[in-house]
Structure formats: structure tokens, C-alpha cells
């Protein structure tokens, strides 16, 4: 248990170990610890942000859904309105068409009546002529008496 040169050796050894630790041991481990600390902090921040984003997204999706519903309702009402409009329009159109058809038919009828009358008139004149011929007992020259006959027809 004497104090001797071991003292110096131990001091030098101590200095070397401290130097080694300071140079090669401490910095990499502390750096890794710092890096991990940062990673964890970042991760937590990301999680927080994601949560916030999720909340926002949920809110937005609810809003969009609500808007879509509103719009769908609107479209339905609009469609219904439009449908009744179309029906009304069709009704009016049909009425008009009907009226037109009726008028056309009436005109045709009138024309037919007129034509029939004309025919009848000619036939009447022919009958009258034949009657008169019979009465007179001789053949009337239709050509010679056309003017007269026409006048007769027009009078009937």
C-alpha cells in the first residue's frame, strides 16, 4: 500500500478513458437519443394533425352530404313542377289540336254538303229537264236550252 508510479499511470489511464468516452462514446449515443426524441415529437405532432384533419374531413363530408340532399330535394321539386308544366302544356296543345281538327272536319263537312248540293242541283235540273221533256213529249235539245236550264238550276 505504497504511493508509487502507479499513481501517474492511473492518472494517465483515467485521462485516456475520459478522452475516449468524450470522443467516441458519448456523442453518437446522445445524437441517437436526440434523433429519437425528435422522431417521437414529430410522430406525435403528425398524429395530432391527422386527428385534426380527420375532424375537418368529417365536418366537410357531413356538409357535402347535407348540400347534396338539399340539391336532390330541389331537383325533385323542380322535376315535379316541370312535369306538371309539361302536362299542362300538353293539355293545351291537345286542345288546340283538337280544335283545329274539329274546324278542319267542319270545313270538310261544309264542303261535302256544298258538293252534294251541287250534285243534287244538277241532278234536279236533269230530272226537271227529263220531266219537262216528258211533259212536252219531245226531246229537248239540251244544248239549245242549256242557258235556260242553268238559270233554272241556279234558281232552285
Amino acid at each position: 500500500m505504497n504511493i508509487n508510479a502507479t499513481l501517474l499511470a492511473q492518472t494517465i489511464m483515467f485521462a485516456l478513458f475520459v478522452w475516449f468516452c468524450m470522443k467516441f462514446v458519448w456523442p453518437p449515443i446522445v445524437a441517437a437519443l436526440e434523433q429519437r426524441k425528435k422522431q417521437i415529437a414529430d410522430g406525435l405532432a403528425d398524429a395530432e394533425r391527422a386527428k385534426h384533419d380527420l375532424e375537418l374531413a368529417a365536418k366537410r363530408s357531413a356538409e357535402i352530404l347535407r348540400e347534396a340532399k338539399e340539391k336532390a330535394g330541389e331537383i325533385v321539386t323542380h322535376g315535379e313542377k316541370r312535369a306538371s308544366e309539361i302536362i299542362e302544356e300538353a293539355k293545351v296543345q291537345a286542345k288546340l289540336e283538337g280544335d283545329r281538327l274539329i274546324t278542319g272536319a267542319k270545313a270538310e263537312i261544309d264542303q261535302e254538303v256544298f258538293r252534294a248540293r251541287e250534285q243534287l242541283r244538277t241532278q234536279v235540273s236533269a230530272i226537271a229537264l227529263a220531266g219537262a221533256g216528258k211533259i212536252l213529249g219531245r226531246e229537248i235539245d239540251a244544248k239549245a236550252h242549256n242557258d235556260l236550264l242553268d238559270k233554272l238550276v241556279a234558281e232552285i
Binding site: 505504497n2 499513481l7 492511473q10 492518472t11 483515467f14 475516449f20 449515443i29 441517437a32
Partner: protein
């Protein structure tokens, strides 16, 4: 084993003797074979056991930490890396607690001191006779495996710490500031000699107390292990008293070893903490 190991006093002496390499009385260099020879070697001798054990332990510790530091990952840590990270964080928080200035050297210094001293102290828990018996079988007369029971080791470290304290005192406060701190308080400039005496003692007390505390504790602990071992060795034949002594040696060794785990850790921690505190004082201006 030398012949003196057969008496109680011889046994104790044998256990407390370092393996010293130096100049023998006949002028040649070699290992001292007795305490007197070791003493006669004077200052220029080396305690081989202290030197080898502390170098080995320090190297193992540094190798462990270095191997972790080389492959360290910021991802999920495993095994030894967990332990090293825990150690680093423990040391770092202790240093932050008592060291307020900024110096990148103090924390590694504290780490080195803690684990080196801890490992040296831990050797105390090995059965005290095994290594010396093994060594004497190999022809080595003495071998003390606990370097911290050698004042050379503790003073060596304390001197290292003391040099750092001096260096940083001068660096931080300037030579004038440091000298002023030693001479101008507590009594002002007219009490300069008294101040110097008081502050000088204060300054010198730091390394001495640092070294002697560790040495004293470990030496005393080792001494008690030796005495307990002597108790069991004192049994003569298969008498009732002999068996009782032998049994109580086992129980006492166990008890003291368990208690010693606390001392081993505590002394390493105290050495580290005081070093950090002294370094902090060196960095701080007196107010």
C-alpha cells in the same frame, strides 16, 4: 503462497499487498516478494495488479459502450443499447442537476468515472481468496483484484479531476480571478494570508477527500471480507465451535456482500457527483 500466509496477520497482510514491480534491493528489476521489498522500491514502482485490473475493467466498459455507440439506431433499441441509453440518460440528468455551466466534457467524464469506479468496486464482490490462490498457483505472489482499494488508483483519479478543476478554474475566471478567489475572501484583501490558508485547504481538500473517501470505503469493505474469511479459517477440526464459525462465515459473507452492493454503487455515484460538483464550482464565479 508465501509462508507468512499461514497466520492470521500474515493472511491479512497477504491480502492487502499489491503486486509491485520495481527495482529490487540487489539492483535488478522485478516483482517484490514481500511488503518490505515493495516498500523499498520507492516511488518508481508499479502496482501491476491495480494497473492491469483497472486497465482491463476500463477497457471492457469502454468497449461495451463503444460497440453500442457504433451500431446505435434511433429506431427501436434493444438489449445492450437499452442499458447504455439508460446509463447515458441517468448520467446526463445527474449532470444537468448539479452542473449549470456549459461544457461538453463533464458528462462523458461523469460517465467514465461512474462506470469505471463501479466496475473496480464490483471486483470486491468476487470471493476474496479465489484470484490470489489462482495467481499464487501461477507463481504470482500477490494479487489484489480491487483497484479501488489501492490509494494509487483513487488518488490517480482524484488528481486527474483536480487538474481539470484547476484548468477550468483558470480558464473560466482567468488566472487573476482564480488567485483572487483564493486570496481575497472571506476576509477581504487585508486578511490575505488567512484567506489563502483557508481557501488553499478548501481547494486541496477536494481531491484528497475524493480519493480517501473511495479508498477508505473500499479498503474497509475489503478488510471486513478478509476478517469474515479469517473467522471461517479459524476452525480447528470438526468441533461444534468450528462448524458454527464456518457456517457464520458463509452467512456473514453473504450479508456483507449484499450490503456491499449498495456501497459499491453508492461510492461510484458519490465520486461521480462530487466530481461534477467540483467542476461546477470551477466554472462558477464567486459572488
Amino acid at each position: 503462497m508465501s509462508s507468512e500466509a499461514h497466520t492470521s496477520a500474515g493472511y491479512i497482510k497477504h491480502h492487502l499487498q499489491n503486486l509491485t514491480y520495481g527495482q529490487l534491493p540487489d539492483g535488478s528489476w522485478g516483482i517484490a516478494h514481500s511488503a518490505e521489498e515493495a516498500k523499498a522500491m520507492g516511488f518508481w514502482a508499479l502496482n501491476l495488479d491495480t494497473f492491469i485490473m483497472s486497465l482491463l475493467l476500463g477497457a471492457v466498459i469502454m468497449f461495451l459502450f463503444r460497440s453500442v455507440a457504433k451500431n446505435i439506431t434511433a429506431g427501436v433499441p434493444s438489449g445492450l443499447q437499452n442499458f447504455c441509453e439508460w446509463s447515458i440518460e441517468f448520467i446526463d440528468s445527474s449532470v444537468r442537476g448539479s452542473f449549470s455551466a456549459k461544457n461538453d466534457m463533464v458528462a462523458p467524464l461523469a460517465l467514465t468515472i461512474f462506470f469505471w469506479v463501479f466496475s473496480m468496486n464490483l471486483m470486491d464482490l468476487l470471493p476474496i481468496d479465489y484470484v490470489p490462490l489462482l495467481m499464487s498457483a501461477l507463481g504470482v505472489p500477490f494479487f489484489k483484484i480491487v483497484p479501488s482499494t489501492d490509494p494509487n488508483a483513487t488518488f490517480g483519479m482524484a488528481i486527474g479531476v483536480f487538474l481539470l478543476v484547476l484548468y477550468y478554474s483558470v480558464k473560466m475566471k482567468g488566472l487573476g480571478g482564480f488567485v483572487g478567489e483564493l486570496t481575497l475572501q472571506p476576509f477581504g484583501k487585508w486578511g490575505m494570508p488567512v484567506n489563502l490558508l483557508l481557501e488553499g485547504v478548501n481547494l486541496i481538500a477536494k481531491p484528497i477527500s475524493l480519493a480517501l473517501r473511495l479508498f477508505g470505503n473500499m479498503y474497509a469493505g475489503e478488510m471486513i471480507f478478509i476478517l469474515i474469511a479469517l473467522m471461517g479459517g479459524a476452525w480447528a477440526g470438526a468441533s461444534l465451535g468450528g462448524v458454527t464459525l464456518y457456517g457464520s462465515q458463509i452467512l456473514l459473507s453473504l450479508g456483507w456482500a449484499i450490503f456491499h452492493i449498495l456501497i459499491v454503487t453508492l461510492q461510484a455515484f458519490i465520486f461521480m457527483t462530487l466530481t461534477v460538483v467540483y467542476m461546477d464550482m470551477a466554472h462558477q464565479e464567486h459572488h
